[in-house]
């Protein structure tokens, strides 16, 4: 066997690929489903927290800042391990799927909150004044004038964050979530061949490259000249 043949056999073994492709495709379903849930919950919660923070209630704002800073500071894997292996000691048993969802959604929420909050504070004070001067209340001014502008400014960083966090679904492997990477590593250890991992990498590219391109499109689509 030449070096080249050994390389092909290790990374692109047709027989191994054929055998384990169905398992990896199952993993795709798990990864996609998890990602959608994480992005919806994470961004939804992040926007909600930023909105609550904008009301300026001191205690709530303090709690949100602490939450956002801690969640952004701790590596997600640490949080996943703490929740998955720690909580059962306290008598709380959660599925690995649910733990991964909750942790990553909370981490995304922390980043989303900071992004949206930065957007809200960077909207010109005159926008608030114009809205309030026509009789719109604080909440209405926020909802119809300030938040739409803040979200638009936040679209590029939010999509980047969403992509980064959904890639972290691969961390579920360590607690046994049957995602793409988990299926691939299992297949790799059964077959003693790295081809399933290559397939996983290709699948990740196929899944995320369109999202990266979409984020670039969104960035251009929602970039509008400031009045």
């Amino acid at each position: 066997m030449t070096q080249w043949e050994r390389f092909l056999d290790t990374f692109f073994n047709a027989a191994v690929l054929a055998k384990y492709t169905p398992a990896i495709l199952q993993g795709v379903w798990v990864t996609v489903w998890l990602s959608v849930l994480i992005v919806l919950a994470g961004i939804g919660l992040g926007v909600a927290l930023a909105v609550i923070r904008s009301f300026g209630w001191r205690l709530a704002s303090f709690a949100i800042v602490v939450f956002a800073d801690v969640m952004r500071a701790v590596p997600p894997l640490v949080l996943i391990l703490i929740v998955f292996f720690g909580l059962p000691n306290a008598g709380i048993f959660l599925s690995s799927f649910f733990v991964l969802f909750v942790v990553l959604a909370l981490v995304l929420a922390a980043f989303a909150e900071e992004i949206v909050w930065a957007g809200i504070t960077s909207v010109d004070k005159g926008q608030w004044e114009a809205a309030r001067s026509t009789g719109l209340g604080f909440g209405q001014s926020l909802a119809f004038v300030v938040l739409p502008q803040a979200l638009r400014m936040g679209i590029p960083p939010l999509t980047n964050r969403a992509i980064a966090i959904t890639k972290m679904t691969a961390l579920g492997t360590v607690i046994g979530v049957p995602d793409i990477l988990n299926q691939a590593t299992t297949a790799q250890s059964f077959s003693g061949n790295a081809s399933p991992l290559m397939l996983a990498a290709v699948v990740y590219v196929a899944l995320f490259l369109p999202l990266v391109i979409l984020s670039r499109w969104l960035e251009n689509r929602f970039a509008w000249r400031k009045a």
Binding site: D124, E129, T134, V145, Q149, R225, K226, A227
Partner: protein, 254 residues
């Protein structure tokens, strides 16, 4: 004419009494008294830092006065228990920086408050918005976003946004200061039309020529107080106070 109507007309449109306002240790307004009659256009002049913009912004409480009384058609604007959002609908405001909503087109800039504050239906609000935009000469720009409009056009949309709520008083805070000179005329023409239609207007501006032609009364403010006021011919022609004279000679270059 009934007694009620007579009484209403005797009530000034806008009344300001003993207005005080400090920012930190700086006292910006040191007791301002001012009344604006119905259909009157009052121009407020003064050097920067004289408190004229602050005074204007206190009238709809974008700045919170420290003390003093403000009445709109006899109804309190200041004090506890005032429904601020209700009273603000009756006071239109036009800003130096236009402050159009950049994510909404011209029509939606106008309809937002009509829909959300007045609770109008979409059709009703659209009709009202088109009416207001027609008045400022921008019916054909209704679907354009602010970024697609010139400064003068943006300011006219902002005037339409305020007009559409049919306010009892309109406040203009240096409406032409951010405009290129060749665009000022269009905005002033709209203001002239608004006045001709009977609007009560309180205007902070440096457009001396316009003040001279269009104002019913000119107020000169300096260091947080009204120094003198009167018809434009007198203020511009024969100012009584040195500070007024000094200011006018500085800005007109005489």
């Amino acid at each position: 004419m009934t007694a009620d109507v007579e009484a209403a007309q005797a009530t000034p449109s806008l009344e300001v009494r003993g207005l005080h306002k400090s920012f930190g240790t700086v006292e910006v307004l040191k007791g301002v008294d001012l009344t604006v009659a119905h259909r009157e256009m009052v121009f407020v002049l003064g050097p920067s830092g004289s408190g004229k913009s602050t005074m204007l912004r206190c009238c709809n409480r974008l700045e919170e006065p420290d003390s003093g009384l403000i009445l709109l058609e006899g109804d309190p604007v200041t004090g506890k228990g005032v429904n601020l959002n209700a009273i603000r609908q009756r006071i239109g405001m036009v800003f130096q920086a236009f402050n159009l909503y950049p994510h909404l087109n011209a029509r939606k800039n106008v309809t937002l408050a009509l829909r959300k504050v007045r609770g109008m239906s979409r059709d009703e609000a659209d009709a009202r918005a088109m009416e207001a935009l027609t008045r400022v000469g921008l019916a054909d720009k209704s679907e354009n976003h602010p970024s697609e409009l010139s400064g003068g056009q943006q300011q006219r949309v902002a005037i339409a946004r305020a007009l559409a709520l049919e306010p009892q008083v309109m406040l203009f805070d240096e409406p032409t200061s951010a405009l290129d000179p060749e665009l000022v005329g269009d905005v002033l023409a709209v203001m002239r039309e608004v006045k001709a239609a009977g609007m009560t207007m309180l205007v902070v501006s440096h457009e001396m020529k316009f003040a001279r032609e269009a104002a019913d009364r000119v107020i000169f403010m300096d260091q947080g107080r009204i120094v003198e006021q009167g018809p434009p011919e007198r203020i511009f022609g024969a100012p009584e106070h040195d500070r007024t004279r000094a200011f006018l000679s500085r800005v007109t270059g005489d």
